[in-house]
């Protein structure tokens, strides 16, 4: 192991990009060939990754998240040297162990034992080292007599077991795995997670792609969110995964109906605007768990009648959390100027759990029966809580023999 591998920077990517040429016709291939032989770059290309700047330090554990096609696997392949970047560069100081695709590097005709030797050689082990570690690898894979059967007869779980066992035995400086763990069964997944945890404790470095936020949060301290080939967010694993999840929750709901302003203006009641904490722009409002939330809205009444204002908070996937209207609470909607009414609601401490939410304001008629207009605003709650659900309910833990008010958690939301 070289000195640079012992300390500091393991992976350094600068302006890293990858694009694939667009090939539609047979003649495109020939043209591409001539262009490349002349030493020129491809012009007509689909960009998969664009301008990625990345540093991974020894001992870091980084989760890579993003939608299908965001470029996660491509990034891993660029780092592990399987693909060549079309722009920028990436330097790796140390031995990489990469589990990129199911059964990559295995020959289906050969037995597990022979494939271990071959793929360990691909990872740069000498034949002596391979012979030494063979029992350890076979033991870790734990696939019984299948080890002497051709790999083509393996189940996909067995292939992963074998692949992980080989990578584990190479003791890489940087472990790269791409969603392959999901194929293994429960007990093997646990085994892998335990191995990775030990590996991280002993100073190993991890780059993990997974769609399981559980695995990401359990194994990684940092996270990078790739979106459409660029880094959308990076930093603490909780911040990034929450931003990612709330993005998904929001995406799953049918895109918020665009308010047809002209149409709304003809209605008996229509909403003029909504402020969240004095912000009226369309961007989601960012709050810390437990912050105050003030909602203010103005309603135009065509006939001058008093409207009923209703508000609802729903999770980004449209699961309702809480809803209330001015007439339920007997609250007053005040006349501000002729035909324009105003209502304001305060939540002194909003104990929504971290995630994405939507605030919906509705304008109803005076009787509170017919709904005329709706405006939606995004709301993102940040925090490091690992509580489950949507909202923290006031609660306390009672230790037997201790007075009930000794350990008070949460807050009683005042009515």
């Amino acid at each position: 192991m070289s000195k640079s591998a012992k300390t500091g920077l393991l992976v350094q990517a600068h302006g890293l990009g990858k694009s694939y040429p667009k090939v539609f016709h047979r003649s495109d291939r020939l043209r591409a060939l001539l262009r490349l032989l002349a030493g020129r770059r491809e012009v007509d290309a689909t960009t998969v990754l664009h301008d990625i700047n990345l540093e991974v330090w020894r001992g870091q554990s980084v989760g890579l998240i993003g939608e299908n096609g965001a470029g996660k696997s491509t990034l891993l392949k660029l780092i592990s040297g399987v693909l060549t970047p079309s722009a920028g560069n990436v330097k790796v100081h140390g031995r990489i162990g990469a589990l990129l695709e199911l059964g990559a590097g295995f020959h289906p005709e050969y037995s597990g034992r022979e494939n271990i030797a071959m793929s360990a050689a691909l990872y740069g082990l000498s034949s002596d080292e391979i012979r030494q570690r063979l029992p350890e690898i076979i033991d870790f894979a734990d696939i019984g007599h299948y080890i002497d059967e051709p790999v083509k007869h393996y189940s996909s779980g067995m292939v992963v077991r074998l692949g992980f066992a080989v990578v584990a035995a190479t003791r890489p400086d940087l472990l790269i795995t791409d969603e392959v763990l999901a194929v293994g069964d429960e007990s093997f997944q646990k085994k892998c997670v335990r191995w990775i945890e030990e590996y991280l404790e002993s100073g190993g470095t991890l780059l993990l792609v997974s769609h399981s936020m559980y695995h990401i949060q359990k194994l990684c301290k940092h996270a990078i969110w790739l979106k459409g080939g660029v880094i959308s967010a990076q930093g603490d694993v909780f911040d990034v995964t929450q931003a990612y999840l709330s993005y998904h929750e929001r995406k799953n709901t049918t895109t918020a109906p665009q308010r047809a302003v002209v149409e709304a203006q003809g209605m008996e009641f229509h909403l003029l605007d909504v402020w969240l904490n004095d912000e009226s722009h369309e961007m989601p409002l960012l709050l810390e768990h437990g912050d105050e939330l003030r909602i203010r809205t103005r309603v135009h009444s065509r006939d001058g009648r008093v409207p009923v204002v209703m508000l609802g908070i729903v999770r980004a996937d449209s699961t309702p959390v809480y809803g209330v209207s001015s007439d339920m609470d007997g609250a007053e909607v005040t006349l501000q100027s002729p035909g324009v009414y105003m209502a304001e609601v305060h939540f002194p401490a909003l104990f929504l759990l971290p995630g994405g939410y939507t605030v919906r304001m509705h304008a109803l008629d005076t009787e509170g029966v017919r709904l005329f207009d709706t405006i939606e605003r995004g709301l993102t709650i940040r925090g490091n809580s690992r509580e489950l659900g949507m909202v923290r309910l006031p609660h306390r833990w009672i230790a037997p023999g201790v007075l009930p008010n000794a350990a008070d958690h949460g807050a009683g939301t005042a009515p």
Binding site: L30, L33, L37, L83, A104, H107, L122
Partner: protein, 262 residues
């Protein structure tokens, strides 16, 4: 260093690969040229009655009989042409490896060429020894020198392997075209006939065929036919090295784009 040990590993795997599951195992490597030898000998000697013609035209070259004469040309050619045709398609065949495992791609070509040349070298040595035991005056003592010539041929084959395998990624028809071209090349090389029986202008033109040197040199070394001028030896070496250099340059230039077009 890693690339070298990988290349060795892959060559071993390639050799086993070709005969894994085949009924005759490695024996086929020897049988296939033997059968060709039998067919060509039969056709040329008994049907075309070519023996006397060859002898009349080139007393020296065919002095030891037609079969040893043919062996010296046929074995290197089979090794050479198999190395080239097999290595040409090696990249698409290993597409599964190229997009998934970090691996210097040169290794695949080296392994393919290496496997073909190694297998047929063993066959060549075996048949030389067999013929010597049979009583043919073969100078076995010259085998190490013949091995050097064979190595030089390996450089030429490797160069063409690099070149064609890289081009094949972009131009898929190359494999098919190549099969036909190799046949043409086979019959325009002095494999089945000595150069001397050609009419005068063609005889000299054959010197431009980069493969001409190898059967002639093998015959000169092992059968004791007319020795090759040192200028021709040097030219052959330069051609082999130049082709290898060209192959490597083209391969390197296209290397980073293989995965885009496979």
């Amino acid at each position: 260093m890693r690339a070298l040990s990988l290349a060795l590993n892959f060559t071993r795997r390639e050799i086993r690969n070709r005969y894994l599951g085949s009924f005759s195992g490695g024996l086929w490597a020897l049988l296939q040229p033997l059968m060709q030898l039998a067919v060509y000998s039969f056709v040329f000697v008994y049907i075309f009655k070519a023996g006397p013609i060859f002898k009349a035209g080139a007393q020296n070259a065919v002095a030891t009989g037609f079969v040893p004469f043919l062996v010296m040309g046929l074995w290197p050619w089979i090794a050479f042409s198999e190395a080239i045709t097999r290595s040409t398609t090696v990249l698409p065949e290993n597409a599964g490896l190229i997009g998934k495992v970090a691996l210097p791609r040169e290794v695949l070509v080296i392994a393919s060429v290496g496997a073909s040349l190694t297998l047929h070298l063993l066959g060549f040595i075996a048949i030389c020894i067999a013929m010597a035991l049979w009583g043919t005056p073969i100078k076995l003592i010259m085998l190490p020198l013949a091995l050097l010539v064979y190595l030089q041929m390996a450089l030429l084959a490797l160069g063409l392997g690099f070149l064609f395998s890289a081009l094949q990624v972009f131009v898929r028809d190359l494999g098919q075209v190549l099969t036909q071209l190799m046949m043409l090349w086979q019959f325009t090389s002095p494999i089945f006939y000595p150069r001397e029986i050609l009419p005068e202008p063609y005889r000299d033109w054959m010197g431009f065929n980069p493969f001409t040197y190898y059967p002639e040199q093998m015959r000169a070394l092992l059968l004791g036919s007319e020795s090759i001028a040192s200028g021709a030896c040097l030219a052959a070496l330069i051609v082999a090295l130049a082709v290898l250099a060209l192959g490597i340059v083209v391969f390197r230039r296209l290397d980073s784009h293989f995965e885009d077009f496979l």
